[in-house]
Every structure is written in structure tokens, then in C-alpha cells.
């Protein structure tokens, strides 16, 4: 069981990102999606659960104990930390030994996500998306009871999506808690049995896959919010900031968040701005705007 009581925290790496107070309980082994952008605190919450971040107040327990780096926990942050000197197959063997698990054939483990050809590659020679796939494979094919994953489907070969879902189902059927952070409601629906939505560091609502809930595409509470991810975000920001279609335009790194009243007009304005700024858009998704007042 994972339990948070009145937890507040501030990110070590991005002091502007704050969380809480947040209280909720994940009682049964299943796949849980923490939905929100990084500034909503979902990445920070994932770090708290994995023991890489510290809570300022409140209590957080994982299986009745305080969260720490330990053998039953697998944490895959957005940029995974892997030993670059090792070959992928050697890393998987070493990881199994460190975790105290029986050693399985690394190629078979990698085949779970369709990346067996990476086995002989040295980790430092991998692209980020390949390294992420290796770290994800290690976590999904380990025997860890608690898996904390950041954006498990981002940058992944689209054909691997079904394999990830299958692997998650296998892990949760074996009694594991899988908690993943995502900005994408679609990924949350695909992988999460339950979704926990965050906004500005607060838990706003929880819903389950079985409730067949779909995120509203139209304005909720009078406004719609659009999340854009692009390497040319700063050029897009300059274009969008002067567009009256948008009430608010916020940018952080490669991410932009824009709010407005008319989602159709917003989508059209983003398409025009993308052409003008010559900025390729990697992700464009309407986010769920809280339909109810934030509750802790």
C-alpha cells in the first residue's frame, strides 16, 4: 500500500515546483497514472515515492515504510541514470545481481519491449530514447514490487506501446504497484487502471479507466488548456504570446501551456504559429482542466 498524508514538498532540482498538501492512498496492486505537467508536481511526487526527493511535511509510506532507494523499488526518471561503461546485456545482468533476483537471459528481457538488438551496445552510445527503453525494460522485467515510471510511453517505438501495457499488466497481476507520471491523458487511459489528476501541486480528482471517463476537449469552467511540446518552444512562445486567442501563455523549457476559451481557434492558432516559427511540434494535447474545486 502507498499512503500519503498531508505531504508537501519542493523539488530539489526545480525549486519553483511545489507539491501539496496532498493526501491519498493507493491500496491495491494496480497501475496508477499521476496526470499533470511537471510544474503540477507529478514528477516531484514520483521522486518522493522513489526516495530521490524529500517531503517537507506530512508522512509518506510505501508498504508501511518510509520511501528509500531499495531493492523492491524500480524508479525510471525521464532521464534514466545508467552506467555508461557497461553494455546493455551486462547492465541487465548486474541489475539482477544488485536486486538479488535470479538472472534471466538479457536478450529475452529486452525482447519484452522489442529492443533485443540493443543487447550488445554500450550504454554510453545509446540515444536518450534507447536508454529510456533499456531502463524501462529493466524495471518492467525486474521483480520489484513498486515501479515508479516517468512518461513510460514517451519516445517509445509506437509498436512497443502494447508490449508495455502487457508488461505492466503482468507486473500488477504479480502483485506490483505501478505508478507512472504522464502529461498525456491518452497515455494515462492506455496504461493506468486509475488516474490521479494534479494541477498546480494539488490533487484535483481521481478517476478509473472503467468509468469510461474521457477528458473534455471543449472549455471546462470557461477555459481550455493546451499543452504543447516542441524543441522550438521559445519561437512558438513569441508567436503565441501576441495572439489574442489565448488568455495565458506559459513556457518552460520545451513545454508550453496555453489557455483560452475556444479550443478550435486555439488549435488553429497553434498550427499557424508553428508554420510561422518553423517549429516542429512533438506533442499537442488538450489537458484536463479541473471540473471541480481543488481538494487536498
Amino acid at each position: 500500500m502507498i499512503e500519503l498524508k498531508e505531504v508537501t514538498a519542493r523539488s530539489r532540482h526545480s525549486p519553483k515546483v511545489e507539491l501539496g498538501p496532498v493526501s491519498f492512498t493507493l491500496e491495491t496492486p494496480a497501475s496508477y497514472a499521476l496526470v499533470g505537467a511537471s510544474e503540477d508536481g507529478v514528477g516531484l511526487l514520483l521522486g518522493l515515492l522513489a526516495g530521490s526527493e524529500s517531503a517537507r511535511k506530512g508522512t509518506l509510506t510505501i508498504g508501511g515504510a518510509a520511501p528509500t532507494r531499495r531493492k523492491g523499488v524500480a524508479h525510471v526518471p525521464y532521464v534514466p541514470v545508467l552506467p555508461g561503461e557497461l553494455r546493455v546485456a551486462d547492465y541487465l545482468s548486474l541489475a539482477a545481481k544488485v536486486r538479488g533476483e535470479p538472472e534471466a537471459d538479457p536478450r529475452e528481457r529486452l525482447a519484452a519491449l522489442g529492443i533485443a538488438p540493443l543487447a550488445a551496445r554500450r550504454i554510453r552510445d545509446l540515444a536518450l530514447e534507447e536508454a529510456r527503453a533499456v531502463a524501462l525494460t529493466e524495471a518492467l522485467t525486474s521483480q520489484a514490487t513498486y515501479l515508479f515510471l516517468a512518461e513510460p510511453l514517451v519516445d517509445l517505438d509506437p509498436r512497443a506501446t502494447g508490449r508495455v501495457a502487457e508488461a505492466l499488466d503482468a507486473r500488477t497481476s504479480a502483485g506490483a504497484f505501478v505508478v507512472f507520471a504522464t502529461t498525456s491523458p491518452e497515455d494515462a487511459r492506455t496504461l493506468g487502471r486509475e488516474q490521479v489528476h494534479f494541477h498546480a501541486g494539488k490533487l484535483v480528482f481521481r478517476t478509473t479507466r472503467d468509468e469510461a471517463w474521457t477528458p473534455p476537449l471543449g472549455p471546462v469552467d470557461g477555459r481550455a488548456r493546451l499543452l504543447i511540446r516542441s524543441e522550438g518552444a521559445r519561437f512558438l512562445l513569441a508567436e503565441l504570446a501576441s495572439d489574442p486567442t489565448f488568455d495565458e501563455v506559459h513556457g518552460q523549457g520545451a513545454e508550453l501551456k496555453v489557455t483560452g476559451k475556444d479550443p478550435i481557434a486555439m488549435a488553429r492558432a497553434v498550427a499557424i504559429a508553428s508554420r510561422r516559427a518553423n517549429a516542429e511540434i512533438d506533442l499537442l494535447t488538450f489537458e484536463t482542466v479541473p471540473p471541480v474545486e481543488p481538494a487536498s
Binding site: S54, K71, L86, L94, A95, R99
Partner: protein, 226 residues
């Protein structure tokens, strides 16, 4: 198992091999030249180059490559996230790095004496074996000292600051010099003794310093949040 990552960092780094080869050529070249030209106290001059410059800089590089230029705690993060104990990961890294420092110090010191040995020096075998042993202990002690610095700050700054302190304090002959590998190695190789210590006392203190620095480095790294 936990030692594998720092070991591979050392063995598979071409840049480190280039640095080691460069210093070796410089020191051994100086030893050969001194002997060929019959320079008086040629062995002492060659050993001075080895002990004052080559060994500290070599160990500085060894520590940097073993830690992948990160802090000691951070360098083991890839294993800690898998559930390994931070203290055990740090200890494994410290032992590998001290071992590499010892090998570098012993081999280069022994080879220097072997090549520079002159008629006025002690018997060749005894002199070579002694320098081999003293160089090994000093190399390990230097590595432990710089690992303490690297347990605070990553990059060259932490270990560089402690190397600078070793140079500043160890070049003296007072009590402060007793806390540095530099002064004890100088004493062991026939130079001026710090605080009038006998050579065997310096050897003992060099071992004690190495162990104490290693313990400090592991403790600090184990508390580092990664």
C-alpha cells in the same frame, strides 16, 4: 559486483591511458637522461619529479576517471537506484580507486629507481622494492585524500582543492605536513622529514591517513542524496 563500474571506467578510458603514458614517458625519460649523463644524485632528482608532480597528478586523473568526473556519491547513483547500499557502492569505488592509485604509484616509482639507479645509491633490488612499496602506499593514500574532496564536490574542484592543500601543507616541514601524503612520501624517499618523523613513522602515518581518508570519503558519500 559493485566494483565493476568504477573498474571499467578506469580500464576502458583511452584518455586515462594517454595521461598515464604521458607521465610515465616524462618521468622515466628523465630517469634515463639522468643516468646517461651521470648526473650526481640523478635518482633523487628523478624521484623528486615522480613524487612531487607525477604521482599527485596521475592519481588526480585516476580519481576523476573512476568517478566519471562526478562526486563520489553521485558516481554510484546507477547502482544505488537499483537498491544497492550507498555506503557499499562508495566503499567499492574507494577500494578500486585506491587500488589503481597504488598500482600507478608502485609501478612508476619502482621503474624510476630501476632506470635511474646509480653507483652511489643503495643496492638496486632493495631500493627498487622499497620504492615500489612506498609508491604503492602513497598512491593509495593520495587517492583516498582526493576522494574525500570528491565526496563533497564533483568535477575537478573537490579533489583539486584537497590536492592543493596537500601541496601547500606538505611542502612544509611542520605539524600540518604530517597530515599530507606528500610530506611522508618525501621522507620515505630520502627527503627532509616532516616534524622530524622517522621513515617508519611516516610509513605508518601514510597507511593511517589512507584508511582515515577512505572512511571519511565513504561516510560522506553514503549520506549524499542522489
Amino acid at each position: 559486483m559493485l566494483a565493476r563500474v568504477p573498474l571499467l571506467r578506469l580500464v576502458r578510458s583511452r584518455a586515462l591511458w594517454v595521461i598515464v603514458t604521458g607521465w610515465t614517458i616524462l618521468v622515466l625519460g628523465a630517469a634515463v637522461l639522468h643516468k646517461r649523463h651521470g648526473v650526481p644524485h640523478g635518482t633523487d632528482d628523478a624521484l623528486d619529479l615522480y613524487a612531487s608532480f607525477a604521482l599527485p597528478w596521475l592519481v588526480f586523473s585516476v580519481v576523476g576517471f573512476a568517478l566519471a568526473d562526478q562526486s563520489l556519491g553521485k558516481s554510484g547513483e546507477a547502482l544505488v537506484v537499483l537498491g544497492a547500499s550507498p555506503a557499499r557502492v562508495a566503499l567499492a569505488t574507494v577500494l578500486v580507486t585506491m587500488g589503481a592509485g597504488a598500482v600507478v604509484g608502485a609501478v612508476l616509482g619502482g621503474a624510476t629507481v630501476l632506470l635511474a639507479h646509480g653507483p652511489g645509491d643503495p643496492p638496486l633490488l632493495v631500493d627498487t622494492l622499497q620504492t615500489l612499496a612506498f609508491g604503492g602506499v602513497a598512491g593509495a593514500s593520495y587517492a583516498a585524500l582526493m576522494l574525500v574532496g570528491a565526496s563533497f564536490v564533483g568535477g575537478p574542484w573537490g579533489r583539486g582543492l584537497f590536492a592543493l592543500a596537500d601541496w601547500a601543507m606538505g611542502s612544509d616541514y611542520g605539524f600540518g605536513a604530517c597530515l599530507t601524503p606528500r610530506a611522508h612520501l618525501r621522507n620515505l624517499l630520502g627527503g627532509e622529514a616532516p616534524f622530524d618523523l622517522l621513515p617508519w613513522e611516516s610509513l605508518g602515518l601514510l597507511v593511517v591517513l589512507g584508511v582515515a581518508f577512505a572512511v571519511l570519503a565513504v561516510q560522506k558519500a553514503a549520506r549524499t542524496r542522489v
